[in-house]
């Protein structure tokens, strides 16, 4: 790995510091109490040379570059746990950790798995390295057909931003098909961008690739600009976060909802359609980017409780304290790296919690999660019977037909 070339110690520190203060609420880093709660709540804090609190200590001592040596910073999965608990309300995740990763990125100091995902995103508009021409292949054979914006010659209500894994990953494509069924049952006037859609880039941004994120946002913005619609909905909380919180600063501003919010608003129309029983004790995993990062905990639960037969139970860590699946901030592309350092997977920890809560179904609402948790279920002996379903899939099952 390349080492940082630093002109003068204090200059680099000053630059880092001033860059940090440019982020909204970034100057709060000055009021850090050094309480250590952030480092304590961090799921991998014990493996980092410089967990958040210690990183701030280095910054104050004028030696931030010490915190940017080595590679343990890549254990951060941008789960917002630290940000959530910080008494000084310092934007640790979007500010400090992201900025630190940006520095590692500039130095070329990144694990090779992550490099592949970023290079794929750059070349193909998705981290999986799939052909952009096949982004809408998942819609083949879906009835009624999923409409593509470029083929719809009129303004419509809703643009569904599908996302990378929901478009290309075989497991998550099933969620997309299920959601299409729900939208159709509700008679929603929607379309997708299809091959004009590029990655939302939010995880890439949090992994330190701000430049790549902006390039993708520009492309998506241009695609949005071609069409006339009233709102954007998405099945992916990472895309939701980007569209809601980051795109407006780049001049791309649309009303945006996560699909659970969209459906919760229409619960009166949806409930009568949920005819079939789904008899299961269900527990819900709050995705970091819907829950902690954007404060939405109720809409998914409202939907689950509306499904006849479902009994909702909570895991010991839930809502604000939910445990990350390990996919954020680049984590989705650092499995090998993370395993070699930790020999424990956050997703496995989480499925154990689901089993302890006596759930038979682990419900999710994020495109990363179905494959991650299903992999974890295979590795955890006592979780072998746990079923993982996206809320959209449970709704589609209840709607039937």
């Amino acid at each position: 790995m390349a080492t940082l070339s630093v002109p003068k110690r204090s200059t680099f520190n000053e630059l880092f510091y001033s860059g940090l203060t440019k982020i909204p609420d970034g100057e709060r880093v000055r009021t850090c109490l050094q309480c250590g709660t952030c480092s304590g709540v961090c799921p991998f804090g014990y493996l980092m040379d410089h967990p958040p609190g210690k990183m701030i200590a280095a910054l104050r001592a004028g030696v931030i570059e010490r915190a940017l040596q080595g590679d343990t910073l890549w254990m951060c999965v941008s789960c917002y746990a630290c940000t959530q608990v910080c008494p000084s309300k310092i934007p640790l995740t979007p500010g400090l950790m992201t900025k630190a990763k940006e520095e590692l990125m500039l130095a070329g100091n990144i694990p090779s798995e992550l490099q592949d995902a970023l290079e794929n995103t750059h070349r193909y508009g998705n981290p999986l390295g799939e052909s952009p021409r096949r982004r809408a292949m998942w819609t083949r054979g879906v009835e009624p057909p999923v409409r593509i914006m470029s083929q719809v010659q009129r303004p419509l209500e809703t643009l569904w931003f599908v996302g990378d894994y929901a478009s290309y990953h075989p497991r998550v494509q099933l969620v997309s098909v299920a959601f299409a069924q729900v939208l159709n049952a509700l008679g929603v006037d929607y379309a997708i961008l299809g091959t004009e859609e590029n990655s939302d880039g939010d995880s890439q941004r949090l992994a330190g690739e701000r430049g790549l994120f902006e390039m993708l946002a520009e492309k998506n913005g241009r695609a949005f600009g071609k069409y006339s619609f009233n709102e954007i909905i998405t099945t992916d909380p990472h895309a939701y976060n980007a569209l809601k919180n980051e795109y407006p600063a780049l001049g791309i501003s649309y009303p945006v909802r996560h699909y659970t919010q969209f459906l919760a608003e229409r619960i009166d129309q949806l409930k009568p359609l949920l005819r079939r029983d789904v008899k299961a004790q269900v527990t819900f995993h709050d995705p970091c980017y819907l829950g902690r990062a954007n404060g939405e905990y109720d809409a998914p639960r409202l939907l689950l409780q509306s499904i006849p037969g479902v009994k909702l139970v909570e895991m010991s860590h839930h809502k604000e304290t939910s445990l990350c699946c390990g996919g954020g901030g680049g984590g989705m592309w650092l499995d090998g790296f993370s395993w070699e350092k930790a020999h424990v997977r956050l997703s496995e920890w989480r499925v154990r919690e689901a089993v302890n809560a006596e759930a038979s179904v682990l419900a999710v609402a994020c495109s990363y999660e179905a494959p991650r948790f299903e992999d974890a279920v295979k590795m955890v002996e006592k979780a072998r019977r746990l079923v993982v379903r996206d809320i959209a899939e449970l709704l589609a099952e209840s709607i039937g037909g």
């Binding site: 500039l106 070329g108 090779s112 290079e119 750059h122 799939e130 021409r133 701000r210 430049g211 390039m215």
Partner: protein, 254 residues
């Protein structure tokens, strides 16, 4: 020390390939181009030499879709000079044509060392490196994984089958066909590439006429039939495992 890296754009195999209706070449409407992976290693090796010994690195790419992006990425990694060759490099162009054209132009740049990927997956008439070397009257060594300069010579590691590696010495100037750089091509942050787009200048060199003789003619090009495919086992892991065990039994393994 003047190092030239010659990069070829090759069909991106992530995309579907389609053959031209006349059956003699790839359909240009379908093909997407990306830099040859081995040429990427050649750029990395050049930058490593520059970092170790000091050198000027010039990257030369024939003009095709995506060539400019490749050049800016090279600049962001540390290439000093970028040259785009203007000519018709799609269609019937082959490595002989490219090597001849380069052989006429590159001596102007007074290179001490020329690096290019040892091969490209669309090579049909031999690879670029040895052809170029011959047209320039320079020695060539391919399958190189490791280059150290020693005055007017280079010490290189040449890979042979069976994991055998030969340490060889070559007089400069010379052309080397890179199999692998000493480290994997480094990542370049997009913001650096963006920066290069603003600050780096791309020079252009006109190639008026391409002499394509030297290849054998193509009478037919087609996609390899999926008909020669494996018998596929489907089902859950238990079912598939059963089928595989049966195959092993048939072949006396179990």
């Amino acid at each position: 020390m003047n190092i030239l890296v010659i990069v070829k754009m090759v069909p991106d195999l992530v995309e579907e390939l389609a053959v031209d209706p006349d059956g003699k070449g790839l359909d240009p409407d379908w093909v997407r181009w990306k830099p040859n992976e081995f040429d990427d290693h050649a750029i990395e090796q050049a930058i490593l030499i520059k970092e170790r010994h000091g050198a000027q690195v010039t990257v030369v790419i024939p003009d095709m879709d995506g060539a400019e992006d490749a050049m800016y990425a090279a600049a962001a990694r540390g290439a000093d000079r970028l040259v785009k060759l203007r000519g018709d490099f799609t269609g019937s162009a082959n490595n002989h044509a490219l090597a001849r054209a380069l052989g006429k132009y590159l001596p102007e740049l007074q290179p001490d060392l020329l690096l290019t990927g040892v091969q490209a997956h669309n090579d049909l008439d031999g690879s670029l490196g040895p052809l170029l070397a011959e047209f320039m009257g320079l020695p060539y060594l391919g399958y190189v994984a490791g280059v150290h300069l020693q005055g007017d010579k280079a010490n290189v590691r040449k890979e042979h089958p069976g994991g055998v590696v030969a340490e060889m010495e070559i007089n400069l100037p010379a052309v080397l066909g890179i199999q692998a750089a000493e480290q994997a091509p480094r990542y370049v942050a997009f913001s650096r590439i963006r920066q290069a787009m603003k600050t780096a200048a791309i020079e252009e060199q006109e190639i008026p006429h391409l002499d394509i003789s030297g290849a054998a003619e193509v009478s037919l090009m087609k996609q390899v039939e999926s008909g020669e495919r494996a018998e596929m086992f489907a089902g859950d892991p238990d079912q598939v495992a059963d089928r595989i065990v049966a195959v092993m039994r048939d072949h006396g393994i179990l």
